[in-house]
């Protein structure tokens, strides 16, 4: 355990702009959250010193590739990690004034569901295949809220109507395999909402679904969130999914938050080269067909041995010598609420000069071949 070192607290993204909630404090406050796992190859730092706040009714989009630590981050917040997870004592996760990490087992049992609930990626595996839909929705109602069997059943029908499932009453007697993927995800959402949580965590809720169904589910989540005044953390690898829906976006790379801002300013003044690269890798409809995509070359680093400097440096077109040795801090810009961790940010004189120098040399300081990337 002593081998795990964590960086000193710096900036808390968005803290200075967030409008205080009704009680004068944010709904969720995450400070210096770090999560590591002991593996046979050494300590794997999945999440490294992440801090942010979330207000009542606000939507935070967390964006990053597979392995960027976004799912471990929300599982740490929910406190549903395997026992092998190592979380240092300075980590604080405060939801409505309570530190979720210091709840007793008995308290935690009712904390999940009534305060914080989660929707997972794959609606088939998050439902129990051998239990009827009705049982799966009434279980939390009876357990958390102590409802009677008949009251819970009435409420379950209402919940299915809330998530716009047609013929709600008949659905209670069906099994998950009798429903389509989109309908199953609606059921999962209904279960998550059953006990009126104040925070809904949606971990890639639409990745397994078609684009048309994705739009239905995202629209549904947005409406429900507004009507029920829930806060929401929406995790995705697709910047397009959060662009029109989140109030604020945090971009994660290799366990760290690399840029965070409110949605409009992030897209207006994208600073981190990784955020820019993610955006450029999306195929755009307005481009003619056979337009070559700006793929990010390489892969995320091995989190057992992350690079010592900026973790994105090996894949970054802007990388300079400084990026290889020194890790950049997440610092606030003159734009309130907008922070990023980069020495040579996109769209600044330093960044432009760094990119121009790398393009002239044909490679970045880490040896990334820029010419090959542009041509091959």
């Amino acid at each position: 355990m002593s081998t795990v070192t964590f960086r000193v607290v710096r900036d808390i993204g968005g803290d200075d702009v967030s409008t205080p909630g009704a009680s004068g404090m944010p709904l969720l406050q995450v400070e210096n959250l770090s999560t590591a796992f002991r593996t046979s190859r050494g300590i794997l730092r999945a999440v490294d010193d992440v801090s942010f706040t979330l207000d009542k009714g606000e939507t935070l989009g967390i964006v990053g590739e597979s392995g960027s630590g976004k799912s471990v981050l929300v599982r740490s917040i929910m406190n549903i990690l395997p026992r092998t997870a190592i979380i240092p004592p300075q980590t604080k996760v405060i939801l409505e004034g309570r530190d979720t990490r210091r709840l007793s087992k008995a308290e935690a049992k009712h904390f999940w569901g009534t305060k914080i609930a989660m929707v997972f990626q794959d609606p088939m595996t998050s439902l129990n295949p051998v239990k009827k839909i009705g049982t799966q929705i009434t279980d939390p109602l009876r357990f958390h809220l102590g409802m009677s069997k008949s009251a819970a059943r009435t409420r379950a029908t209402e919940l299915l109507e809330l998530v716009r499932i047609p013929e709600a009453a008949q659905r209670l007697n069906q099994y998950p395999h009798e429903l389509s993927g989109g309908m199953r995800q609606r059921v999962v959402i209904a279960i998550a909402l059953s006990c009126n949580p104040t925070l809904l965590v949606a971990d890639e809720p639409t990745t397994a679904l078609d684009v048309t169904v994705q739009k239905q589910i995202l629209d549904l989540l947005e409406t429900l969130q507004r009507d029920l005044q829930m806060a929401m953390i929406l995790i995705t690898h697709d910047l397009g999914v959060v662009a029109g829906r989140a109030d604020r976006i945090a971009v994660m790379y290799a366990g760290r938050m690399v840029e965070t801002a409110d949605t409009a300013s992030l897209f207006r003044n994208m600073r981190h080269p990784y955020a820019e690269a993610l955006l450029h890798s999306i195929p755009r409809l307005e481009n003619p067909s056979h337009t070559r995509l700006d793929a990010i070359s390489g892969r995320p680093p091995d989190m057992v041995k992350p690079p010592p400097g900026c973790r994105f440096a090996p894949r970054c077109r802007y990388a300079q010598d400084r990026c290889v040795t020194e890790p950049p801090e997440l610092l606030t810009t003159n734009e309130p609420g907008h922070s990023f961790a980069c020495f040579f940010p996109v769209g600044t004189p330093e960044g432009e000069a760094a990119l121009a120098a790398n393009l002239a040399a044909g490679m970045s300081a880490t040896g990334l071949d820029l010419h090959a990337q542009a041509v091959s």
Binding site: S180, V211, K215, T263, A264, S281, R284, L293, R299, S376
Partner: protein
């Protein structure tokens, strides 16, 4: 939609695959039948990328598999390079399939976890190598290098040691090793992150140029299909809605369903946040598809005619065909 018709078939010497009146039905028990693909026709020119796009259950994957005779279609014909595939059997069919390979959606589960990468890639060669005379370790290594993997490092590893994107590269190498003419890509990027998706799409374009491939690209995301295709077919519930060059399809979608597919794509630009209505309801059961136009139950422009008469594909612009009684106006002036 629910279109039949052959107005869009091309009369060219370059036609590599011609599919006519393809019907695929599956028994569903108690005498019921799943109408997965109902009477569709299309052709693929040599060197072309044909995109098949639609929601889950529209029959796009079944169409791709029926072209490979996996399983054999219930009716219709599939002519590949002048040879009728549906009547071929045994060794003749297997030999034909070496020239037509497939890549699947989930790269991890389509690789045998207990075998080494070099054996997975060499599988086709070890079966066919002696007859086509190209079996060699060099051929395997060359193919692995072509898809961006270092043979020295990857040859002796097993699939679980690779990420999803790398597994998809291995699948592509396996498909390429027999030097096929056609690769059918069944949702090759929908299980991948956007950043990896871009790498794989670029790789497919490179491989197409390098090996002179013809691709059939199946996906549910129109933005992805548009990026790689020369011609796009929009499918719904086993029928064809619209056939068009990708740029025309995006600029002026004639079929209401195509419009909905385009509007569903999340736009990575908050200033363009659309207020478009999501499509309502679910795709109807293919056991009992709606009469007339199969899209009528969800169509915003539905009329009485749509329930009684099935629309037939007709030309609305250059190379642009639609099966709809009330198509959106196609901006022909911009087309030129």
């Amino acid at each position: 939609m629910a279109g039949t018709g052959k107005a869009h078939l091309r009369d060219s010497d370059d036609v590599l695959i011609r599919v006519e009146n393809l019907v695929v039905e599956f028994p569903a028990g108690r005498g019921r039948v799943v109408h997965a693909v109902s009477d569709i026709s299309f052709d693929v020119l040599e060197g072309e990328t044909l995109g098949l796009v639609g929601e889950s259950g529209c029959g796009k994957s079944t169409t791709g598999r029926a072209m490979m005779q996996l399983p054999r279609p219930t009716g219709g014909s599939v002519a590949f390079d002048g040879v009728e595939m549906t009547t071929l059997g045994g060794e003749d069919l297997r030999r034909m399939r070496t020239r037509m390979q497939m890549i699947f959606q989930d790269p991890v589960s389509s690789l045998n976890p207990r075998r080494k990468v070099k054996d997975i890639v060499a599988e086709g060669l070890s079966i066919w190598g002696s007859t086509i005379g190209t079996f060699s370790t060099e051929r395997v290594n060359e193919t692995l290098e072509a898809v961006g993997l270092d043979p020295e490092i990857v040859s002796d590893r097993k699939p679980h040691q690779f990420s999803g994107g790398q597994c998809q590269r291995i699948c592509i190498a396996r498909a390429l090793v027999l030097d096929p003419k056609v690769i059918i890509c069944d949702e090759p990027v929908s299980a991948l992150d956007v950043s990896v998706q871009a790498q794989i799409l670029n790789l497919l374009e490179d491989m197409k140029a390098r090996y002179g491939l013809t691709l059939v690209f199946i996906a549910h995301d129109l933005a992805v299909v548009k990026n790689v295709s020369d011609r796009v077919i929009v499918m719904y519930l086993g029928k064809m809605c619209e056939v068009a060059p990708p740029d025309a399809l995006y600029r002026s979608p004639a079929h209401p369903y195509t419009r909905i597919l385009i509007d569903s794509i999340p736009e990575p630009d908050p200033s363009k946040a659309t207020e478009d209505q999501a499509i309502s309801g679910e795709i109807p059961s293919p056991i009992n598809p709606p009469s007339g136009c199969r899209f009528r139950t969800r169509c915003p422009k539905v009329q009485d005619l749509c329930a009684s008469d099935e629309p037939v594909l007709r030309e609305v612009g250059p190379g642009h065909y639609v099966a709809c009684h009330f198509p959106n106006e196609v901006a022909v002036s911009i087309e030129r």
